[in-house]
Symmetry: C2
Subunit: 187 residues, 2 copies
């Protein structure tokens, strides 16, 4: 989920509101492999990735890590369900490389809702974007082969391609590691 200066403009925030928003966010650094969120925790913050790359994943029945999403710089990092419903997350979110995040706690976020009304709309829109993204992702599984999904991934996320391992990408695309290795070679 991407959030940048342009996309925020249309909400016409006042300088005061922008200041309030900015001061609510705190920067934090993450070493490679450090967790933004561990399984079983309630997701207590929304993070805005300013540098680096994260991924979210869970363990399937066979104990394999299944990557569900990547969070490069410029995107929001959040365990949606856990954050919204205040329930323990069944996912991990972990830095792939050294990263930096501006984050805001659940409580601060609630305060912002009251002080900066536009935030309600922003969060509604974020939920819409998220559901759109997930719908597109499902459509690809419905209609594309493993090879096609991989090529689309390469085109869309050339940056992630450099930093994530083959294994991360394979599980994200729902393909076996060995198979993805062969797909990659053929290009």
């Amino acid at each position: 989920m991407r959030l940048d200066e342009n996309s925020i403009k249309k909400y016409n925030l006042t300088d005061e509101e922008i200041k309030l928003t900015m001061s609510s966010y705190k920067p934090k650094s993450y070493k490679a492999n450090e967790f933004f969120l561990e399984e079983g925790q309630v997701c207590n913050a929304i993070g805005f990735v300013t540098r680096g790359l994260f991924r979210s994943f869970f363990y399937d029945d066979h104990g394999n890590e299944i990557t569900t999403d990547f969070f490069p710089a410029g995107t929001l990092i959040i365990a949606f369900d856990s954050f919204n419903n205040r329930t323990p997350s069944r996912e991990f979110i972990r830095a792939i490389v050294e990263s930096e995040v501006m984050s805001i706690s659940y409580e601060k976020q609630k305060e912002l809702y009251a002080k900066v009304p536009a935030w309600n709309q922003i969060c509604k829109d974020l939920a819409d974007v998220k559901s759109h993204e997930m719908t597109e992702r499902s459509k690809r599984f419905q209609t594309l082969s493993a090879t096609e999904r991989y090529h689309l991934f390469c085109k869309e996320y050339p940056d992630i391609l450099q930093q994530a391992t083959l294994g991360h990408i394979a599980s994200y695309l729902g393909v076996d590691i060995a198979t993805l290795s062969r797909i990659r070679r053929k290009k």
Copy 2:
């Protein structure tokens, strides 16, 4: 997306608000194969299915109909992207059997926002539910075989199983028709 009396209770609507809401919805009947929404139209209404079954679909590059969702009684029927962004839909929504829908226009919906504040929260929550559903759907494509996806579908939607064709379900699950026929036989 399901919406029933129980799920609506937590918003503590006043009698007045409930009356306003109810009077904003108009019933409409659909014959089998009639369209709730045709491709290229802007989705101008949210519908609440009271009877019957709908499905949404689009055409892929080879001209095949790809079913993206089913809408049985008790669920909301809406082309999310189109409705929210006021853009022409790339999907069709069509009745599978004779059906009935309570629907509200985009404009009326906007009015409700103003008159019944809780509707903002309801719609935010609906977006959250939608993104949750789509995330789960993606996870299944990532981790389950065609057979496993089909069995889960049978368990979760025994009613749809009776009314939709094999072809509808096959494309929904991302499986070839012939393959799904064989999967079904083996059970």
